[in-house]
């Protein structure tokens, strides 16, 4: 064959045309929705084991199971399997009204017994629930008609928020007791909008719509969720038309594709990026901490490194959280940083030195952000040495209180309560806190059991103000989750970061 330039062009055009005939999914009406998901699903039990507390998996669980209380896309609670809930007057009991007329995927009736059993099961230490310390604050669960009552062992004002947070799922008592843990893994049954039709570990899950779903039948009758952990492969999946929706790709790729053949939605989610400050070495000097906070130009970092996809924050609360207070700010002022450092005898010529730890590639541009911050710090008289660590090492070091003076981390808090953001991050006695100052412990302590909600939230706002004023932690940004999708799909983003197929509609 004489291959000249013209014949090569013809051949290329023919190849492209031939290939395009095979995969025109974007242009056709979508019959079966295909989602390229960024994580795999190791286990189907949403209440025990590591998967149960993995925030990125919750969207898969919520497609099959219902939580006790429904969480709306703006993080606010709404009636779900529980239609009403509350405490008695002296806060010694909780009560929950259970929705009637709901069916499990196997056709059996959902009852208040299921709710009581689900709550009691995760409260038992032997179950292996990672959140047993929360569920164990309730005991003696009992059913009265379509109500579930439980005694309060220790008052926790956030207990109902946990009912739409990690491990807060209702499982079928009769079915689970009949098939056991292994049988449940093989054939999970929930009350959620979709039923599991086929599951291949590490590969995909195929879901069928639950036509009897109490919240209304989902629009897409069949949904295939492919587990595509590599971001480049996920982008290729939607770009080629093999998948209709995907999430968590580099922002550059999102920008490249969203205005072209694909549509996109990028909305803030409840995850934040922050720098833990450990109360050791030079971080015991308030001038150093405050200078480190004032020297960071968060907005420029968001604009330059993340393409503007991020929301600058100055406390550990995002605007969607209950204790967000817009009046608490930490200004970017390198001049002030220089002044503060000078007061402690430091300058660009005689910099204060410490180590900062960071992940690399765990979150978008994490390492690059820290590089930029170190560059900004250098200008004012802070010389920070970067150490890259794996996220697993971060957890271990944090639990042992052995983090470096500064350590980058990302924090998720999809219920938006201050206890699960500022509280757990900053309360010294918690094994996951890094700053152990007595003053902060005294401020936070009374808030754990505060029954007056307004007073409790105001208390947390005061804590946030104190933390910001004393630079006990450096909040950086609220992440934005990029979702690419075919023009034929309308995707409703959820502020928790969960990608939920039952919230997707045809355009």
């Amino acid at each position: 064959m004489n291959l000249n330039r013209r014949s090569l062009l013809k051949l290329s055009a023919a190849s492209v045309a031939l290939g395009a005939t095979g995969l025109p999914a974007r242009a056709q009406a979508i019959d079966e929705l295909v989602i390229a998901y960024n994580v795999t699903l190791p286990s189907w039990d949403p209440t025990v084991g590591p998967s149960a507390v993995n925030p990125t998996i919750q969207g898969l669980y919520q497609s099959v199971f219902d939580q006790f209380i429904l969480q709306q896309p703006d993080l606010k609670p709404a009636p779900g399997l529980l239609t009403e809930w509350g405490w008695n007057d002296d806060r010694t009991q909780v009560w929950m009204t259970v929705r009637e007329g709901v069916k499990w995927h196997d056709g059996s009736d959902f009852t208040a017994e299921d709710v009581a059993w689900s709550l009691a099961r995760v409260a038992k230490p032997e179950t292996g629930s990672p959140i047993q310390f929360v569920w164990g604050t309730l005991a003696n669960h009992r059913v009265e008609g379509n109500k579930v009552i439980a005694d309060v062992v220790q008052f926790d004002p956030t207990i109902f928020k946990w009912m739409y947070f990690l491990t807060g799922y209702v499982l079928p008592k009769a079915y689970y007791e009949k098939v056991g843990a292994e049988g449940f893994e093989a054939a999970p049954v929930g009350t959620g909008p979709y039923m599991v039709e086929k599951f291949e570990r590490n590969a995909f899950v195929r879901l069928k719509a639950n036509e009897n779903y109490w919240g209304g039948a989902p629009e897409f009758k069949t949904v295939t969720i492919k587990f595509v952990t590599d971001a480049a492969a996920r982008v290729a999946e939607v770009e080629s038309g093999n998948a209709h929706v995907t999430l968590e790709m580099p922002y550059e790729e999102y920008d490249r594709l969203k205005g072209g053949p694909l549509a996109g939605v990028a909305a803030p989610i409840s995850d934040i990026g922050m720098i833990f400050l450990n109360d050791i070495d030079v971080m015991l000097d308030p001038n150093v901490r405050k200078a480190a906070a004032h020297a960071i130009d968060k907005q420029t970092i968001i604009d330059r490194l993340l393409g503007g996809y991020g929301v600058k924050i100055d406390t550990l609360e995002t605007p969607e959280y209950d204790a967000y207070d817009a009046s608490i700010t930490v200004e970017y002022s390198p001049e002030k940083a220089v002044e503060l450092l000078a007061a402690s005898g430091y300058s660009p010529e005689n910099p204060v030195k410490f180590k900062i730890q960071t992940t690399k590639g765990f979150k978008p541009k994490d390492y690059e952000m820290i590089q930029a911050i170190v560059g900004l710090w250098r200008k004012v008289g802070i010389e920070a040495e970067i150490e890259v660590y794996e996220i697993a090492k971060h957890y271990e070091l944090r639990a042992a209180d052995q983090l470096a003076p500064a350590a980058f981390y990302n924090w998720g808090n999809s219920v938006g309560d201050p206890t699960t953001s500022t509280g757990f991050a900053m309360f010294g006695p918690s094994p996951h806190s890094v700053w152990d100052g007595e003053d902060l412990i005294n401020m936070i302590g009374p808030l754990w059991g505060e029954a007056d909600e307004a007073k409790r939230i105001e208390g947390w706002k005061a804590v946030d103000r104190y933390v910001a004023e004393n630079a006990l932690v450096i909040p950086l940004l609220q992440y934005v989750q990029p979702i690419l999708h075919a023009p034929g799909v309308v995707v409703t983003p959820h502020a928790s970061g969960a990608l939920l197929p039952h919230l997707m509609k045809r355009a």
């Binding site: 190849s15 590591p50 480049a232 699960t420 094994p431 806190s433």
Partner: protein
């Protein structure tokens, strides 16, 4: 008799090797940072919660104690339970092994075919521009790692000319009548060529990505061996007998020249299986390598142990098989 003694000796050393691997892996993954319980517990958990879950997963005991418990279980066929999947490790690992084996074998077949054709063509047309072109292509294939070839293939055949599937092992909507996890093999046995085509269209890109660097190695080595053999007296003799160049290369030179390549293919096959870790991840192929990465990320200690032990078994088995095959093919060793 000597061969049998040699085999028995190799089996004994294999057992010692596996024990060594087990000890090293067990201790190393417990010493490196990343405690699965620390990863599992959310903020707010107390020291009691840490202790409770550590006891639940048997991590509260000393490492030697944990090892003895684990080794005792292994001797009875119990490799423990995966922390993340909450399933028996042995079932999980054996369930994924066929996928990885099929991918590796397919990659090997492609590599041998590409490398063999390149070597034979290069030898036949030695000294011409074609040989130069093959050498350049070999150099490129070797200098680019397999995962980058994977990305190039995804771009070419997944996006620009989308003829192959980018991820997975089989189309989710297909009903599979298989009783084993050897999908490719069983689809042929059942004469289900529709399924076979689907499986191949999923496997082709990851297999080719794995095969390209190996094909270059095979091509280079085989061509070199062929060139050296072509100068030997018996080859010259066959030429003087009037045999054509193709006959001389294929019938006379190749049988001798192939022996070093065969050893290399055996050794490289084990590396090929190791290479599936990255490639399976890239193509979301549901094999052992993909599972290994998940296990490491989640610090699923029992699963990591199970996968590493299985990889070690495969490596030693393949090496043993290659040695035996080499002994059978090489008359000097066979009659030694």
């Amino acid at each position: 008799m000597r061969l049998l003694r040699s085999v028995l000796l190799r089996l004994a050393t294999t057992a010692v090797t596996l024990l060594g691997v087990a000890v090293i892996v067990f201790f190393v993954i417990r010493v490196v940072p990343g405690n699965p319980v620390a990863m599992m517990l959310p903020p707010g958990a107390t020291e009691e919660d840490v202790a409770r879950l550590s006891a639940l997963y048997g991590l509260d005991k000393s490492i030697p104690e944990q090892f003895l418990i684990w080794a005792g279980g292994v001797l009875q066929g119990d490799f423990g339970t995966s922390i993340t999947a909450r399933q028996p490790v042995l079932a999980l690992v054996l369930g994924r092994l066929p996928a990885t084996l099929e991918l590796s074998v397919m990659a090997l077949v492609i590599a041998v075919a590409l490398g063999g054709v390149a070597a034979l063509t290069g030898t036949r047309l030695r000294g011409t521009r074609v040989e130069g072109g093959i050498d350049v292509a070999n150099g490129m294939a070797l200098s680019v790692p397999d995962f980058l070839w994977g990305l190039v293939l995804i771009l070419l055949f997944g996006v620009l000319v989308p003829v192959f599937h980018i991820s997975g092992r089989v189309t989710p909507s297909l009903d599979l009548p298989f009783t084993t996890n050897f999908y490719l093999f069983e689809s042929v046995l059942r004469l289900r060529f529709d399924l076979w085509a689907d499986i191949v269209s999923h496997m082709f890109m990851p297999a080719l990505a794995l095969a390209i660097p190996l094909a270059a190695i095979i091509g280079q080595l085989l061509k070199q061996s062929l060139k050296e053999t072509m100068h030997l007296d018996y080859v010259t003799l066959s030429r003087t007998k009037g045999y054509g160049e193709n006959h001389v290369i294929l019938r006379e030179a190749l049988p001798n020249a192939i022996l070093p390549t065969l050893t290399l293919v055996g050794v490289q096959f084990t590396f090929l299986i190791g290479g599936t870790v990255i490639i399976e991840r890239l193509f979301s192929y549901e094999g052992l390598g993909n599972m290994a990465i998940e296990a490491v990320i989640n610090r699923d200690l029992p699963l990591i142990q199970g996968i590493v032990i299985l990889f070690a078994v495969i490596f030693t088995a393949v090496n043993l098989a290659v040695d035996l095959l080499y002994a059978l093919l090489n008359p000097r060793l066979r009659h030694a």
